[in-house]
């Protein structure tokens, strides 16, 4: 018989009952863990062997229902998929179990996901199309057309990306990575007719794609490896391709790089701020600019560095550009 490796592990577990407790607290548990056990096995052990009142969501146990997501030592995990031994390798023998969002905890690992679902539904996360009620043949989607979804249809709505996103945490209006991924998923569907409607939603300043901080927390958090941030990039691209980019600080910030690279090779930092903010808007940066100037952190236009072989860069920009901004 095969010898199974077993390790003694300490678990510090977030406990809270919104109806009874004034404040959350942590309970310590210690178990022998076998090499193939996952986090969900430990949650079950706590409930079945230690405290029947311990609460957590679970259903399929096969990484498909998305309900058992929690954080272990601040790493978002899907409990039924994450091996405890893999976590020991990263964090050692003391593992901390917490709900996805402690501020929204209802009971132990169970959080109120109302905010998540509200944002999710705001992007029209369903197919919008004129569908013939009595079709004579199937609507065949080619392999290439299916590839366009870039696996975004595999999202299981676990919320790991949403609760890992720092922009979501400080900006209550931001739609967040899960909903944006879903907007992309339907925008990329050849059967769908509401691409521009969704782009109108995700193009809003303060709410949509322009408020992504590009931290890649969502890419690490996704248990399906869907990299929501890459879908956010694709939504940005769609906004420009559909000629829907409004002339504002965020869009000019993205566009400004091309002009600078064409001219200098390098980014002209001062000019990017001026171009993005506009001649009036840039005035609010004067105090910090003076401070930077005093400390030798600003260069004059005539000191702007230049890359060598700019003719090549110019040629490549001419031949490889795929979009235009008005």
């Amino acid at each position: 018989m095969k010898n199974y490796d077993i390790k003694r592990v300490n678990f510090k577990v977030f406990r809270y009952n919104k109806e009874v407790d004034k404040l959350p607290y942590y309970e310590d548990y210690s178990f022998d863990v076998a090499q193939d056990e996952v986090v969900l096995d430990i949650l079950n052990k706590i409930k079945w062997e230690k405290d029947g009142s311990f609460s957590y969501r679970r259903s399929c146990r096969h990484g498909i229902c998305g309900s058992c997501a929690i954080k272990v030592n601040n790493k978002p995990v899907l409990s039924c998929k994450e091996r405890v031994f893999d976590l020991i390798e990263i964090f050692g023998y003391k593992l901390v179990f917490e709900p996805q969002d402690m501020k929204q905890a209802i009971k132990d690992m169970v959080v109120d996901k109302e905010r998540f679902w509200h944002k999710y539904s705001s992007v029209k996360p369903y197919l919008i199309a004129e569908i013939d009620a009595h079709p004579k043949s199937e609507y065949i989607i080619s392999g290439n057309e299916a590839d366009k979804l870039d696996e975004a249809d595999y999202c299981i709505q676990c919320g790991n990306c949403f609760y890992a996103c720092p922009s979501v945490q400080v900006n209550g209006d931001y739609i967040g990575p899960a909903a944006l991924l879903k907007a992309f998923r339907f925008n990329a569907d050849v059967r769908d007719n509401a691409k521009r409607d969704r782009l109108d939603i995700v193009n809003q300043e303060g709410k949509g794609v322009w408020d992504c901080v590009k931290c890649y927390e969502c890419a690490e958090a996704c248990p399906k490896d869907l990299s929501p941030i890459d879908k956010i990039t694709k939504l940005h691209n769609q906004i420009f391709e559909e000629n829907m980019a409004t002339d504002n600080v965020a869009t000019r910030h993205a566009v400004g790089f091309k002009d600078s690279i064409k001219k200098h090779g390098f980014l002209d930092e001062g000019e990017l701020v001026r171009y993005s903010e506009g001649n009036l808007g840039v005035l609010k940066h004067v105090p910090e600019a003076l401070h930077m100037f005093k400390n030798g952190k600003l260069i004059m236009p005539w000191q702007m560095p230049k890359s060598q072989k700019l003719d090549e860069v110019d040629k490549l920009i001419k031949s490889s550009s795929t979009v235009k901004f008005k």
Binding site: V170, V313, L316
Partner: protein, 292 residues
């Protein structure tokens, strides 16, 4: 030890808003005998914004950047997390998608270049730790940073996404990075343990969402301060521009003073190696570095 030689992808900020990063990088490279050959043909990496506008163009330009390191037969060294990620992402995409590589090479051919995938891309932090060696650095320390409690601030783009960085960052775990901590300890300092060490600084929305940016960096700085850090250190000039230059607006947004010195990683190394603050460009730092 064999001489280390890299193709130096300078990036935009060391030549403009963070001259102290340029000075301190060159100073410690000289002190440690690391040769940096500047990639004079290289352009801006697009700073994680250009691909939002024109993804293909951004890829072509970064492929061109890498070509010039390949021509010299050298590994690229970057000193900015975002340069690192943009170049590494271009490499990852081209090395894993033959069709895309062909499309990009069709463009590069117009200027007589070809992307082959032969050069590695590495941030200077990992060149120091993994190539030069942490023990070798420790043996060169002249002024141990023994009285300093230093909060390492890793910056997103050196540690995420793990898939793209692979072994180029020593397989650093994004949820428990250790390189900067190990470096601090090797230099004789105390590394401060705090929750925000691997979090975002908010730089990339600074213009369009300053409130978001200020809250994100403010949370990180207060965490470091509450854990008794004397200074923070970062390998990324964009994090530095946020945490150092914007302290006034961050304090205003947070309703609390977040003043704390912010060192570039090479400045910290340089101080421990006994290099003068002048050579490390300390005078350019906005938050006063009173211990240097």
């Amino acid at each position: 030890m064999k001489n280390l030689k890299y193709a130096f992808f300078v990036g935009c900020t060391p030549k403009q808003s963070t001259p102290e990063l340029m000075q301190s990088t060159l100073a410690i490279a000289e002190a440690l005998g690391i040769e940096l050959v500047e990639l004079v043909e290289a352009t801006c990496c697009g700073a994680s914004h250009m691909q939002d506008y024109d993804d293909f163009l951004s890829l072509v330009l970064n492929a061109r950047n890498i070509c010039y390191a390949e021509k010299r037969g050298l590994t690229i060294v970057t000193v900015c997390n975002t340069c690192q990620l943009n170049l590494a992402t271009a490499k990852y995409r081209l090395d894993n998608d033959e069709k895309l590589k062909d499309r990009v090479n069709a463009k590069l051919k117009e200027v007589g270049l070809e992307y082959k995938g032969t050069s590695q891309i590495k941030h200077f932090l990992y060149a120091l730790i993994d190539d030069f060696g942490i023990d070798a650095i420790a043996s060169r320390v002249k002024n141990p940073l023994k009285n300093l409690y230093i909060a390492p601030f890793y910056g997103c783009h050196n540690i995420r996404p793990q898939k793209v960085h692979g072994s180029s960052n020593g397989n650093e775990d994004p949820y428990k990075p250790t390189s900067l901590d190990r470096l601090i300890i090797a230099l004789g300092g105390h590394s401060v343990e705090y929750g925000h060490k691997n979090k975002c600084c908010g730089f990339h929305v600074e213009l369009q969402a300053p409130k978001t940016a200020n809250r994100i960096s403010g949370n990180a700085m207060l965490d470091a301060i509450e854990n008794n850090a004397d200074t923070m250190v970062t390998p990324c000039p964009l994090c530095h521009l946020r945490l150092d230059v914007q302290q006034k607006s961050i304090s205003k947004e947070m309703g609390q003073d977040v003043s704390i010195p912010i060192l570039h990683m090479p400045q910290m190394v340089g101080l421990a190696l006994g290099i003068s603050p002048e050579k490390l460009g300390i005078k350019h730092n906005i938050a006063k570095v009173d211990f240097a």
